[in-house]
Amino acid sequence: MLYSEKVMDHFMNPRNVGKIDDADGVGEVGNAKCGDIMKIYLKVEDDIITDVKFNTFGCASAIATSSIATEMIKGKPISEALKLTNKAVVEALDGLPPVKIHCSVLAEEAVKAAVADYYKKQGKELDEEFFSCSGCCSACEHGEEHTH
């Protein structure tokens, strides 16, 4: 099969779909031209992510990676969310087809973008290295680096 059962489960029954109107941080990465946009909403209390929601335009693996990424950071301290790697996302989904790896990169970056937004709103500084490019497909200039 093209996708693992885990991917199909998170695609067909995505966790944490939705919006948070009074979110403490919102991150959006990707673009319509590339065929995937991920938007992540965070609610943070005492540096703990108490709630997280996502909205995604994209393929099944874009939706599944968004879903699992939100699960992986929910209830976790912000510092841990920042350590979320695309590799961890792929592993949690029991793998992704090679052409779909970029979705996991996107998920990682969506989380980071949301955290960055939170930091910004809080007036905090953040390590530059975490936030490079939005990671996309070959249509973006930086795309290639992210699609492994």
Binding site: F11, A32, I37, M38, K39, N55, C59, A60, V99, S138
Partner: protein
């Protein structure tokens, strides 16, 4: 419930075709090039199939060779014409932006070898203009290759007109008729077609077999060298069972062509109308009239095709997004871009293609399912959110 609505990708083999093939596996399995009885029996069956198919296409049996399918036929036709052209110093080829990759990739390769390739634009309805073809023809044009019917959006091209123009200018005309043979009337002589490629599995024949018609007088170059099969033009032990199956399928298909087309057009038009009515910001790709009887192609804004497909699949509907052959690619269909759709809309395409095996009940089910799935995906799409906002 499993609804197969991906007949442009491939079809079920018809019962008649399977029955026609069976004896050639275990009984009449001789090598058609062998001179003994077993071989000659196989040979006879093959010659009958050749006669039947050439009869349907309107050519001589000698003008038809069997290949492993549409891709091989396209490759051999184009490379042969290119080589013929090069001998006379003609290295210009005209084609269109909506051809199948089996054509486009060969043209890419020829480009690297120094050929000059003109890829014509198409109208927003997905149709090549015959006038554009004529305008593009030059002194050094070796070949015009324009598909008969597009595999993604189903549009029928003005093949007879283009054939006449090519004849007038003395340019070889090849058409990739993989989606058309068995589905719409074709006569190579009347339409002035010099070369025509087809593939059995698109008309309820088996996979792995196809053909190439080449007008007498045009010299093919073998793509596969070896034995003297197909008069030295295509080596390899003849695939007799598949050839017989292909002929049986095509005969059946052509006998029922009008009846099937009528049925399919009704289903097609009802599906298009109903979905367009039920789903805002949806569109049909390709000319509504000049299209294959069984082809429906939509774009839905704000969602992406693969997730749409997989959700429909979970409801028992097998469709496709773009063409099956481009799966594994992240780019949206070159055909949808060629008809002028922006990337973000081209990503949200859905192709549903039917055969006479489909039923009105299945259409009902699809008409019910598609709007639901589109809504569900739009509900979680930040792009849809934006579209809605901008609308207000």
């Amino acid at each position: 419930m499993l609804i197969y609505a991906d007949n442009a990708a491939t079809t079920a083999v018809s019962k008649k075709a399977v029955e026609a093939m069976l004896p050639y596996f275990t009984q009449q399995y001789g090598n058609a090039s062998s001179i003994h009885t077993a071989g000659q029996m196989a040979n006879k069956a093959m010659q009958e199939a050749r006669a039947d198919i050439s009869n349907i296409l309107g050519c001589e049996p000698k003008e038809l060779i069997f290949t492993s399918g549409g891709s091989e036929s396209d490759n051999q036709a184009i490379v042969s014409a290119a080589l013929l052209g090069a001998k006379k110093g003609k290295k210009h080829i005209i084609s269109s932006k909506i051809e199948h990759h089996a054509v486009l990739h060969v043209l890419d390769k020829l480009k690297k070898e120094g050929y000059d390739i003109t890829l014509l634009d198409v109208s927003p309805e997905g149709i090549v203009s015959a006038a554009d073809v004529e305008a593009a023809i030059r002194e050094d044009t070796a070949l015009v290759t324009i598909m008969f019917a597009n595999n993604e959006i189903g549009t029928l091209q003005p093949i007879a007109e283009i054939g006449e123009i090519c004849k007038k200018h003395g340019v070889i005309f090849h058409t990739d008729a993989v989606q058309a043979v068995g589905h719409v009337p074709i006569n190579v002589k009347e339409m002035n077609i010099d070369m025509l490629s087809f593939s059995a599995h698109k008309f309820h024949g088996p996979k792995g077999i196809g053909g190439l018609y080449v007008r007498k007088g045009i010299r093919l170059s073998p793509l596969i060298e070896g034995g003297a099969q197909e008069r030295g033009l295509r080596a390899g032990t003849e695939n007799v069972a598949a050839i017989v199956g292909m002929a049986a399928a095509l005969k059946e298909q052509v006998e029922n062509m009008d009846k099937n087309a009528e049925k399919l057009k009704k289903m097609r038009d009802r599906l298009m109308d109903s979905v367009l009515a039920a789903v805002p910001r949806s569109r049909v790709n390709g000319d509504r009239q000049k299209r294959l009887p069984g082809n429906v192609s939509f774009c839905f804004e704000g969602i992406e095709g693969e997730s749409l497909l997989l959700m429909l699949d979970s409801m028992g509907i097998c469709g496709s997004s773009g063409s099956a052959c481009t799966s594994g690619s992240l780019d949206p269909s070159h055909v949808l871009l060629a008809i002028g759709l922006p990337h973000e809309i081209a990503h949200g395409s859905l192709r549903l293609t039917f055969s006479e095996y489909n039923t009105e009940e299945e259409i009902d089910y699809i008409i019910n399912a598609v709007p639901k799935v589109v809504s569900r995906l739009r509900d979680m799409s930040p792009m849809w959110e934006r579209i809605v906002k901008e609308d207000k």
